[in-house]
């Protein structure tokens, strides 16, 4: 473990470098990528808290057979808006927010390629979110069609009312926002790297944002087209998905999942990148197999475009062996990443501070989600557990155990850079342990419930089914999850007021964001070290003979 050097710590000063203006008008009109990144992150956490509250109501309802808190219609609205909020308005925007803040810093750029477009992208996302969730204010309630919006359930016949229309239009706007953001990221990464920062010296996080942007460009237009077709069906008398008039509801599933499965990788690849940034720094080693990481990311991105119909095995309308094979093969590049992460830690000088703790938690939790994914890619198993809680358990291990754990790792790792103050280590570790206990209590029992035949998306179950004990366990776990998130919020607000000054480089980082002040000045850098490798800040420290070249993270709790 690294030790705390009091003299080094003494060099850390309170965050006061070029502190930007902070008035309301300034935030409303900003085109600074860092402020837009902060806006994204704060808004995404807001949607996370709201969507999380919806899930707490769901868990409370499922704690006992019968209907105690909400009716069937309200329950349908709750799980629809929970899924929609988490997928479209929390996880993806968090990735975009982190990318906004850190991609220009990591490649040595003063801003993104199109700053105004970047601001528009953010406000369009907010507009989409407001429209989508405003369904709760309408007479018929919010959309109640599941986040997948399957036809013909989403047709006017079965889902009249403005809720579904607001859901369609809101997601259409947020989809356009995603497309514009992806273009901005690509232009920034391709066109604004500092001299010396070749493609194969870029931090892995930037590579992952690049591949994610590519996936967004391939898939979001397809989703937008599908939503436009659904809107035409509902409002203008179209019949794209109406079989009684020659339409095809299976077409909706093809279009939705051609977007929907790459979307899973859009939600996880940026956080693979986050973890790949954190593990080498806290192991005091260069990342093992840089090219392998990049290659695996490209392969995952490519493969993800050809697996969509594994969500449609039970329709009987797709070629199951093709999609089983393409789905299972994704485990290979993902396995490459896992081996590389482990090899990076192997015989490293590991410092188990909060960002690293969350990263290691991510490895274990995501691995479970990934392995159950391989099971589900097998049609005979999928036929057995399709639309059961086994699938709910699987994707929560991927998206909560994977994305959310990595999001918290990113917060603990990068908030000191954003704010200039370190988060509290003790509260951070309490947050981690509460989260991992609550998470496993909530979602592990769902595997068993699913295998025993408990259907997803149904508000009630029979008291004779034997499902209640595991449901009570899951509901108690959800309460612990809520407590864990509360600890995080307390930690955040306390640390922002009273946290220790972080200094420019509290962790002994490798990439260029650690070469500037915390928070960075407008246009990011006073000095950029020469880039000769994928670890320019490490090289610079070594060349200058400064402290930390061979040292480690020196935040609190590192001793």
């Amino acid at each position: 473990m690294a030790t705390v050097d009091s003299r080094e710590r003494g060099t850390a000063v309170a965050p006061q470098h070029d502190r930007p203006k902070g008035g309301v008008v300034d935030w409303l009109t900003t085109t600074d990528h860092k402020k837009i990144g902060i806006l994204y992150l704060v808004s995404a956490v807001g949607f996370f808290l709201f969507s999380g509250l919806l899930s707490l109501v769901i868990r409370a309802e499922l704690a006992a057979p019968g209907l105690q808190i909400v009716g069937h219609q309200e329950y349908n609205e709750l799980f629809t808006m929970h899924g929609t909020g988490m997928v479209f308005f929390f996880v993806v925007p968090t990735a975009i927010g982190l990318g906004n803040y850190f991609v220009p810093l990591q490649i040595g750029a003063p801003d993104v390629a199109y700053p105004r477009l970047n601001a528009f992208t953010y406000w369009l996302y907010i507009a989409g979110g407001l429209i989508t969730f405003s369904g709760f204010l309408t007479a018929g309630g919010a959309a109640a069609v599941g986040w997948t919006g399957y036809a013909p359930l989403s047709s006017n016949t079965f889902s009249p009312g403005a809720g579904v229309d607001l859901w369609i239009v809101g997601l259409l706007l947020s989809g356009v926002s995603g497309i514009l953001g992806a273009i901005n990221f690509m232009a920034t990464i391709f066109g604004m790297r500092v001299p010396g920062m070749t493609m194969f010296r870029m931090p892995i996080f930037c590579w992952n944002i690049l591949v994610t942007s590519g996936l967004i460009l391939f898939t979001f237009p397809v989703l937008s087209a599908a939503f436009a077709m659904l809107y035409i069906d509902r409002q203008i008398g179209g019949f794209f998905f109406d079989p009684s008039a020659g339409g095809d509801p299976i077409l909706w599933q093809h279009l939705f999942w051609f977007f929907g499965h790459p979307e899973v990788y859009i939600m996880i690849l940026p956080f693979f990148g986050v973890v790949t940034e954190i593990i080498p720094v806290f192991s005091r080693k260069p990342v093992f197999g840089y090219s392998g990481f990049v290659f695996a990311t490209l392969l995952i991105g490519g493969y993800s475009l050809s697996v969509w119909a594994h969500h449609m095995f039970t329709t009987g309308a797709v070629n199951n062996p093709f999609f089983a094979a393409t789905s299972m093969i994704i485990a290979v590049p993902t396995g490459v990443k896992f081996f590389n992460w482990i090899a990076t830690m192997w015989r490293g000088k590991i410092s188990m501070q909060t960002p690293m703790l969350f990263s290691v938690g991510f490895l274990f939790m995501f691995l479970i989600g990934g392995i159950t994914g391989v099971f589900l890619a097998s049609p005979p198993i999928d036929y057995h557990v399709h639309d059961t809680y086994y699938v709910v358990a699987h994707f929560h291990y991927v998206l909560f155990g994977g994305s959310v754990f990595a999001i918290f790792a990113a917060f603990y790792y990068w908030i000191p850079k954003i704010s200039g103050r370190l988060m509290n280590e003790g509260l951070g570790k309490l947050h981690f342990w509460l989260l991992i206990i609550g998470f496993n209590m909530t979602f592990f029992p769902m595997h068993v419930l699913g295998l025993n035949g408990m259907n997803r998306r149904i508000a009630d179950y029979s008291s004779a089914s034997g499902f209640q004990p595991l449901n009570i366990l899951a509901t108690a776990g959800a309460g612990i999850l809520a407590l864990a998130v509360t600890v995080f919020l307390i930690n955040f607000f306390v640390s922002m007021r009273k946290g220790e000054p972080a200094g420019d480089d509290p962790w002994g980082g490798y990439s260029l964001e650690w070469a500037t002040t915390s928070p960075p000045p407008p246009h990011n850098f006073h000095r950029i070290p020469p880039v000769h490798s994928e670890r320019p800040v490490f090289d610079d420290r070594a060349n200058r003979g400064g402290a930390g070249a061979g040292g480690g993270p020196r935040g609190p709790g590192s001793g």
Binding site: D26, T29, T31, D32, P110, P115, R116, N118, A119, F120, Y122, W123, L124, I126, A127, G128, L130, I131, A162, D165, V169, G170, L172, V176, F190, G191, R193, V194, P195, G196, M197, T198, M199, F200, R201, L210, G214, F218, Y231, Q235, L251, H254, L255, F258, S291, L298, G301, G302, A309, V318, N319, F322, T326, H523, F525, R527, I528, P530, V531, H532
Partner: protein, 153 residues
């Protein structure tokens, strides 16, 4: 070929291959078209960008190393698909200059927010009635005007 183009070329080739296989195992139209349209769009971008390409990235400015062993072994495939950073090794940078083109970056602008508000009104108009398009279009047009004139100011 620079890595930026190879990035897209690999995707285009993959989509052609997988799209062709998919057609012959499924004869399913929607998925095949999605895959092949993706390939066409990406391929078009690669060709257009290759034609109009002006070297300015670090890899392009670097002196090219002599034909490497990898490229000799893999021939055309290596040239277009190789996964190596030999170009980077050929051109070590000197001290990286600060590229702060501050005048090129707008400090603030109200027009992105105004344009998003216009999109909000247009979107709500799709649900609650076209009357909302009147303020939406007006705000959208003025946002576009403000944005463009600010760009050229």
């Amino acid at each position: 070929m620079v890595e930026e183009l190879r990035f897209f070329l690999r995707i285009a080739v993959y989509l052609v291959v997988i799209g062709t296989i998919y057609w012959f195992v499924s004869y399913e139209v929607a998925g095949t078209l999605l895959l092949l349209f993706g390939a066409v769009a990406t391929g078009f971008f690669v060709v257009a960008a290759r034609i109009s390409f002006q070297p300015k990235t670090p890899e392009d400015l670097a002196p090219r190393p002599p034909s490497s062993g990898l490229h000799r072994m893999t021939g055309v495939f290596g040239r277009y698909f190789a996964f190596d950073d030999e170009n980077a090794a050929g051109g070590e940078p000197t001290e990286a200059p600060l590229a702060l083109e501050e005048e090129g970056f707008p400090e603030s602008s109200i027009w992105p927010l105004a344009a998003a508000l216009a999109a909000l009104l247009l979107g709500l108009g799709l649900v609650f009635g076209p009357w909302l398009w009147i303020p939406g279009l007006a705000l959208g047009a003025s946002s576009m005007w403000g944005w463009l004139t600010q760009l050229t100011a």
